[in-house]
């Protein structure tokens, strides 16, 4: 029932948006404010309906209604409320809904804040995007064509071919398939909404650019569009940062950036948005570059749709770690791209002759020229990334089944342009804020940053022992850019701090460049043996069992408990202990790795985690996931994860062999509570009914057995036996014994009798040592067990990742700069609107 209401709400929302679309068209064409008002009402109604449908979907998710496919597919009953909420946008259908909701909020903002000139055409184009996005989720069949995939479709319809639904159409699965454990992370709460807000906001410059073409007013649109574009870029930047940090810190992708298509999908619009911001600034200041601003505003949105198409239509197939369900939206997504591009191209072509263009060529020595070159460089970079991402399509020109390009392709073709941009930012900033009589005085003013950058980069190159010429040039340019923009900023701060947005972002960009260089020096940290082995492999001296040379070098090593290893001649690394903490999930294991600096003796601990993926595990087949731990440093991060261990193997075999019908999670919880510590203490203290593990041995103390009078030894005052069961969790061997503890009274003195029990199945002995009457615990000593507890070991990967913190710093500077710029441009725009209204009245 709820599903039908939800689907109906979405269909109505689609109809309402179509209505608004038409009304805005005629409102613009006929300059009719009345039609526009009705359009706003329909637009608002559409938003309300989508909100309502989303609320219903969230309700279905939090009430675990697995008869709905979306609920079944993305949740399970063990999920906590936040993850049930996050499941709302975990799937494609829901993420479209989220995108539409963001678009709706943006639309309401536009209705409120946009002046009369552009309002109705802007809303027309925004509604166009909404119509297409809504068509992805309505899930109706019209004239035999199925449109969209509804989030409210039923599990029984999705799996109609399964016998269980054939025999019983009303069958409801008792449990959902759950959220992938890797996604159960707080980052999933925040990352997707920010992305979709960015996507939705990027529609604004697109809408304004097309509105300006339609209304033949080619200049004024940039004032309202600028803060929106900055806002969209800020959102995309935050989203990219969150995604990168998530991938690096918890997903163990090994780094913050991998040129994955999904990552590129937000990077390319960000770069084009950036180019657009700059041409808009040129246009604002010098009344030129109208065409470029329009083109970039259109391109930024077209690439959002194009990359959405790439990542969601299934064409990328095997190119991405992200996989989306192919919902059969290929044609619809294609139509969406065609619609946004064609409307852009046609409107532009029709008006091209009218758009103001420069009478004479731009002089080479001018801020406009440098800034324009910067924007063009950004365009080139984005084209390179688009080509790379489109490899599954474009690559067919070269090979039959194209793979994605190697990361090297992206690095080679973007970083040099990044450097060019870094230089251009300094040139432009100097020209933007100062007046120069001639090129000579301009060159003179660049002397200070050039000289100081030379000194600093030489110092850096020596300290960091950089030996590659390319990297030296790279460092010099980045430092030059930081200093040049820094000088501009320090002057601006005194004049008007509101104006430093640009220079802060440029500094942030140059800082980022420095940080990126660190990735070239990523290296595994290994002990002497492994390093020697790898060197031998490189020389081709290692031969495998079959007599073939080994080519694979090692990047991980084995650490035995409490045995320090000297790693990279820099640290002594020791695996000291491990605990099954059950902290965030059942069965979670936390390892303690101690690092001691060889020379300074400074110590720190790193605590990587390994946990079982409950959602995907069965008793016979446990799957484990690593959660790396990063020791952050200003200049380098140490990135550590444990990929396997004696404890993981033991737990797997224990869960596998335990013959119960319990769920995997319960078995994990019932297992070890012990910590794994280096000293094996052979004393076990237990209350009746409790158990403990020593290594692979489990000692269960069931109860005390009161001894019958005749069983007591001679002269005994009191005596008791303990019912004990010992299990080797690996071999499943068990033995039950009942050691005795008795107090004798002999010759006026109390003595204890507690004979050592020799175990039949195990090579150690057991003794019931004493009873602690204060805690009610019995003490058992397992004599000789130390020799049989297996060595504890871990397989560990340690990587040194230089300058990752610098990347984060650069990102924060960019965010900060964007925020200042938004504040300033938004303020300007408010003033303009007020003036416009004022003059409008007169």
């Amino acid at each position: 029932m709820i599903g039908i209401i939800g689907s109906a709400a979405l269909v109505l929302a689609f109809v309402a948006s179509l209505g608004a679309f038409g009304l805005y068209f005629f409102a613009t064409q006929k300059n009719n404010p009345k039609l526009e008002k009705i359009g706003h009402v329909l637009f608002g109604l559409k938003g309300a309906l989508v909100f309502f449908a989303s609320a219903l979907l969230v309700y279905l998710l939090i009430t675990n209604q697995f008869q709905y496919f979306y609920v079944y597919n993305y949740t399970s009953s063990d999920l906590s409320l936040v993850y049930l909420w996050a499941a709302f946008y975990s799937g494609q259908e829901g993420s479209f809904l989220l995108w539409i909701l963001c678009g709706y909020l943006v639309g309401m903002g536009l209705i409120k804040w946009t002046g009369d000139t552009y309002r109705s055409p802007v809303m027309f184009f925004l509604t166009l995007t909404q119509v297409f996005l809504l068509s992805m989720v309505i899930g109706v069949t019209i004239f035999g064509v199925h449109i969209g995939a509804s989030p409210f479709r039923l599990t029984s319809a999705e799996f109609a071919h399964l016998p269980v639904f054939l025999s019983n159409p009303d069958f409801i699965p008792a449990e959902g398939s759950g959220l992938n454990d890797l996604l159960r992370s707080p980052w999933i709460i925040i990352h997707p909404p920010v992305i979709f807000l960015g996507f939705a906001m990027m529609a604004v410059p697109f809408a304004f650019a097309l509105a300006s073409l339609w209304k033949r007013k080619y200049h004024e649109w940039i004032y309202p569009a600028l803060p929106w574009t900055l806002g969209a870029n800020l959102c995309l930047l935050i989203a990219i940062f969150l995604g990168g940090y998530w991938a690096y810190e918890t997903l163990s992708f090994g780094g913050y950036w991998a040129w994955d298509p999904v990552e590129n999908a937000s990077l390319v619009p960000w770069i084009l948005g950036m180019a657009g911001i700059h041409t808009m600034l040129i246009q604002k200041r010098s009344k030129i570059a109208h065409k470029a601003s329009i083109i970039f505003a259109i391109l930024a949105y077209v690439t959002i749709v194009y990359q959405t198409f790439l990542t969601r239509s299934g064409v990328l197939g095997d190119a991405s770690v992200h996989s989306f369900v192919d919902l059969g939206l290929y044609n619809q997504l294609l139509l969406f791209i065609v619609a946004v591009s064609v409307s852009g191209i046609i409107l532009y072509a029709v008006r091209m002759k009218e758009i103001p263009s420069q009478k004479k060529e731009m002089p080479v020595f001018s801020r406009e020229f440098f800034m324009f070159s910067g924007a063009m460089t950004l365009l080139i970079v984005s084209l390179v990334i688009i080509i790379g991402t489109s490899a599954p399509l474009i690559g067919k020109l070269f090979v039959a089944n194209p793979t994605p390009p190697q990361p090297q392709f992206y690095n080679d073709w973007t970083l040099p342009f990044g450097l060019a941009i870094a230089v251009l930012t300094v040139m432009t900033q100097y020209l933007w804020w100062n007046k120069y009589k001639d090129t000579e005085s301009f060159a003179g003013s660049l002397l200070t940053p050039t000289l100081s950058a030379s000194f600093i980069s030489v110092a850096l190159i020596i300290v960091a022992q950089v030996s590659t010429i390319l990297y030296m040039v790279y460092i010099f340019i980045a430092v030059f850019s930081i200093i040049g923009n820094g000088i501009v900023m320090s002057k601006l701060v005194k004049k008007n701090p509101k104006m430093i947005g640009g220079s802060v972002t440029h500094i942030g960009f140059a800082v980022l460049l420095i940080g990126f260089l660190g990735a070239a020096y990523d290296s595994p940290m290994l002990d002497r043996n492994t390093i020697n082995y790898n060197a031998a492999v490189e020389r081709g001296e290692v031969i495998d069992d079959d007599g073939f040379p080994v080519h694979q070098t090692l990047e991980v090593m084995k650490l035995d408990i409490n045995q320090p290893r000297r790693v990279n001649d820099e640290y002594y690394v020791t695996f000291t202990d491990a605990t099954i903490s059950h902290e965030n999930r059942p069965g979670e294991q936390r390892y303690r790795i101690e690092f001691e600096h060889v020379r300074s003796g400074k110590k720190f601990d790193v605590n990587p985690v390994v946990y079982p993926m409950i959602a995907n595990s069965t008793a016979g087949n446990m799957s484990w996931t690593v959660d790396p731990e990063v020791q952050m440093g200003l200049l380098r991060d140490i990135y550590v994860y444990v990929s396997n261990s004696s404890m993981v193997e033991r737990e797997s075999s224990r869960v596998q062999t335990e013959s119960s019908f319990q769920a995997v999670a319960d078995r994990l919880m019932n297992g070890y509570e012990q910590s794994l510590t280096p000293e094996v203490n052979n004393l076990v203290r237990l209350k009746p009914g409790a158990s403990r593990n020593l290594g692979q041995y489990k000692i269960e103390f069931d109860r005390f057995i009161n001894m019958a009078e005749e069983d007591l030894p001679e002269n005994a005052v009191v005596g008791v036996q303990a019912s004990i069961k010992i299990t080797n969790s690996q071999t499943r061997q068990t033995e039950s014994v009942a050691p005795m503890y008795a107090i004798l009274y002999n010759d006026g003195r109390n003595t204890v009798q507690s004979p050592v029990v020799e175990l039949e199945n195990f090579d150690f002995d057991l003794m019931f040592e004493t009873i602690d009457t204060t805690t009610d615990e019995a003490h058992f000593r397992l004599i000789g067990i130390e020799d049989y507890i297996e060595d504890e070991w871990i397989i560990i990967a340690i990587e040194k990742k230089p300058l990752v913190s610098v990347v984060w710093l650069g990102t924060f500077l960019l965010m900060f700069g964007f925020s200042i710029a938004i504040y300033r441009r938004w303020g300007d725009q408010r003033v303009r609107t007020k003036q416009e209204r004022h003059y409008g009245d007169v």
């Binding site: 095997d318 770690v321 390179v384 070269f398 993926m613 990967a797």
Partner: protein, 129 residues
């Protein structure tokens, strides 16, 4: 023709050719095990993990070994010089990058297609029972 336009056009042509040439070199082709063996180059092979054959991490040689069936149905051993990647067990497919020698694919890069999708009904059948 203005000199700027000529220079610009030439620059664009050179740039584009270089870019596409480099692009063409940096992409490979997905192949099956047999073609991989023949080519001897670094290749991408798509396949599925064969669950009923032995797999595991060798603590001595520090390699993760498993068997994979490629899209043509051929099964070969894969030796991966890193620990087992996250989500390996549930991957609906694997893309293994490496070179093939002596019937074994030696890999140093693996892409695990993680299932944000569970469109197969296996879980459902389990929950039925």
């Amino acid at each position: 023709m203005k000199p700027r336009v000529i220079i610009g056009t030439v620059a664009i042509v050179i740039f584009t050719s270089l870019l596409m040439w480099n692009f063409g070199n940096s992409i490979g082709s997905y192949v099956g095990f047999e073609d991989a063996e023949l080519s001897g180059n670094r290749v991408h092979v798509i396949g599925k993990w064969v669950q009923d054959k032995p797999h595991g991490f060798d603590n001595e040689r520090m390699v993760f070994t498993f068997y994979m069936q490629d899209e043509t149905g051929e099964v070969r051993r894969v030796s991966y010089n890193r620990p087992k990647p996250n989500n390996f067990e549930d991957a609906e497919s694997l893309v293994v990058v490496g070179t093939m020698r002596n019937g074994v694919l030696f890999s140093d890069d693996m892409l695990v297609k993680c299932p944000s999708k569970y469109n197969d009904a296996s879980n459902l059948e389990i929950s039925m029972n």
